[in-house]
């Protein structure tokens, strides 16, 4: 079973399968359906300094091959997360918790990181790629901005830092290299793809599910060949076969995203299959 475990700097995963940010709430929501102790890690919903209300309805748009979400980072905010949600999750599982964080400015990222420094968590995932915040540029669409943000945050924390990138860029390797150079300990690929759907009026959202799998696979493959840090692959993983494709592309770990909605048992089924073959 030794081979089964994965290390991302200080973060030790008993298996390389986690749940992706935004699809698993604060973890506790799924406790009746998923044995949380079996997961490699739990990545939380993105936390911001202040509570966020999120976007107007509609927020969900279903496609036969995936879905579009326009949640807009609705979350309880940093304080309530640290005081309530994090202890609640820690009480029910020993599985490492990766806290996804987001901000409108660099100083907001710094503020959250500094607050999390006193908390025992598995890692921090920097969400610099959310497609759903109106009027705000996606940080990870610029190699320079990506470097600046990670470099600043890196100096403020000793937590393991994972950076989640947007697939909507000209050259993903350039951005990933920049993240590595700035001190990121791993790269998460990919966040949902920025798209538009019509529901009376046009609505911006993020596309995810099986329809983005091959975009994700290509990016994981490209990035894994150019950086030395681990790549965590995600995007439309619905079963063990999909998971294996990501490992073959070069991912050291994988995350299950909106398959949690379709079938919450997916992530456990993948872990059990991988154990059998290990």
């Amino acid at each position: 079973m030794k081979k089964f475990s994965v290390s991302i700097r200080k973060l030790k995963l008993k298996n390389p399968v986690m749940v992706a940010s935004g699809t698993f709430g604060y973890g506790v929501e799924y406790k009746d359906l998923v044995d949380l102790d079996k997961l490699g890690a739990i990545v939380t919903k993105t936390i911001t300094v202040e509570p966020q209300k999120g976007n107007l309805q509609p927020r969900i748009f279903e496609l036969p091959y995936g879905m579009i979400n326009s949640i807009g980072l609705q979350n309880v905010g940093l304080e309530k997360f640290v005081e309530e949600k994090l202890p609640e999750l820690k009480k029910i599982t020993k599985t490492p918790i990766i806290v996804s964080i987001g901000g409108k400015t660099l100083s907001e990222y710094v503020k959250i990181v500094e607050r999390l420094n006193s908390e025992r968590i598995g890692a921090i995932e920097l969400n610099i790629s959310c497609p759903n915040i109106m009027g705000k540029k996606i940080v990870s669409q610029s190699a320079k901005e990506t470097y600046k943000l990670i470099n600043t945050v890196r100096k403020k924390t000793n937590h393991t830092l994972i950076t989640k990138l947007s697939p909507n860029v000209t050259d993903i390797t350039e951005i990933a290299k920049s993240a590595e150079n700035a001190g990121s300990d791993a790269i998460s690929l990919i966040n949902s793809f920025p798209v538009l759907f019509f529901s009376h009026s046009p609505i911006f959202g993020g596309l995810s599910g099986p329809c983005v799998k091959h975009i994700a696979l290509k990016m994981v493959y490209q990035v894994a060949r150019i950086v030395k840090i681990p790549v965590i692959g995600m995007g439309g993983i619905m079963n063990t076969k999909d998971a294996l494709e990501f490992f073959n592309a070069g991912a050291k770990a994988i995350a299950v995203g909106c398959a949690n909605f379709a079938n919450p048992k997916t992530v456990i089924e993948i872990i059990e299959d991988l154990k059998k073959w290990n």
Binding site: T23, F24, Y30, L33, P51, K53, I71, Q74, G209, N263
Partner: protein, 267 residues
């Protein structure tokens, strides 16, 4: 909350476009409360997400849902046969609170498939007064559960929009006319389930008469368990969030589907 593979006991067409499907699953049957719902994976090819349905009744080891064919998911579901197995998560969400409904004079206002959760409630309450049931439909061929509500001791008033059966007009108008001072001085509690437009109207009527009203809402959902924040509705509460404006988003799947009508911002 359970995730089970449930075998279909029966799938009956009970009215124009409406189906009643009964599943075998003792855990869900045992724990379901009126107002709660289940998430059904109807197939793995043409639909990606699960579909939410109110629980309509339970009996021993079985539970039933009512649905109208409105899209691809319900179309597929309507073709399922006895013996087919579907993956189901449930029971989910808040309930009407049978104990609360049993103490006072209950009034049910239902539109279309909204009759499902209210029939379940009617079957569980023990009220000192005869409950009233206002059931609204588009036309005679779509009428559901009139005899069932009567059998449970309710005084039933049916309306159709085209006047082909019962009273003619929207059920909200019939309900409004019925609420004379002599009756609402008895302080009835109103339970409503149906289209959002209807619920908004019922909520406004109740507010003007100072009657307590509980509504069961519907929204597009992804997870059904409170994780994705997809199905939110605007409410006047905001969970002590330090935001200055006067609204907050609540999850229909977890904080609802049953809400105190006063808390909803209908717009």
């Amino acid at each position: 909350m359970f995730q089970i593979d449930a075998k279909i006991v029966s799938n009956k067409k009970i009215s124009e476009k409406y189906f009643l499907i009964t599943f075998l699953g003792d855990k869900i049957a045992r724990e379901s409360l009126p107002g709660q719902f289940i998430m059904v994976k109807v197939d793995n090819e043409k639909t990606f997400l699960r579909r939410p349905f109110s629980i309509c009744s339970t009996g021993g080891k079985t539970f039933s849902i009512l649905f109208k064919v409105v899209g691809i998911g319900t179309e597929i579901l309507s073709k399922k046969k006895t013996g087919d197995v579907l993956n189901i998560i449930g029971p989910l969400g808040t309930d009407y609170l049978v104990s609360r409904a049993s103490c006072l004079v209950p009034i049910f206002v239902a539109g279309g498939t909204g009759v499902a959760s209210l029939l379940f409630l009617a079957s569980k309450i023990k009220s000192p007064q005869k409950p009233m049931a206002f059931l609204g439909f588009k036309t005679k061929s779509e009428i559901l559960f009139e005899p069932e509500f009567k059998k449970l001791g309710c005084e039933v008033i049916v309306s159709t929009e085209d006047g082909s059966y019962g009273k003619k007009g929207l059920i909200t108008d019939i309900f409004k006319k019925f609420l004379l001072p002599t009756f609402y001085s008895l302080l009835p509690v109103v339970y409503a389930c149906g289209p959002k437009k209807m619920l908004k109207e019922v909520a406004e009527i109740c507010k003007s008469k100072k009657l307590k009203c509980y509504v069961s809402l519907e929204e597009r959902m992804a997870c059904g368990v409170g994780a994705c924040m997809g199905c939110v509705i605007k409410t006047i509460e905001n969970e002590k969030l330090k935001i200055k404006d006067d609204f907050g988003y609540k999850r229909v799947c977890k904080d609802g589907p049953v809400f105190d009508a006063e808390k909803i911002i209908w717009k």
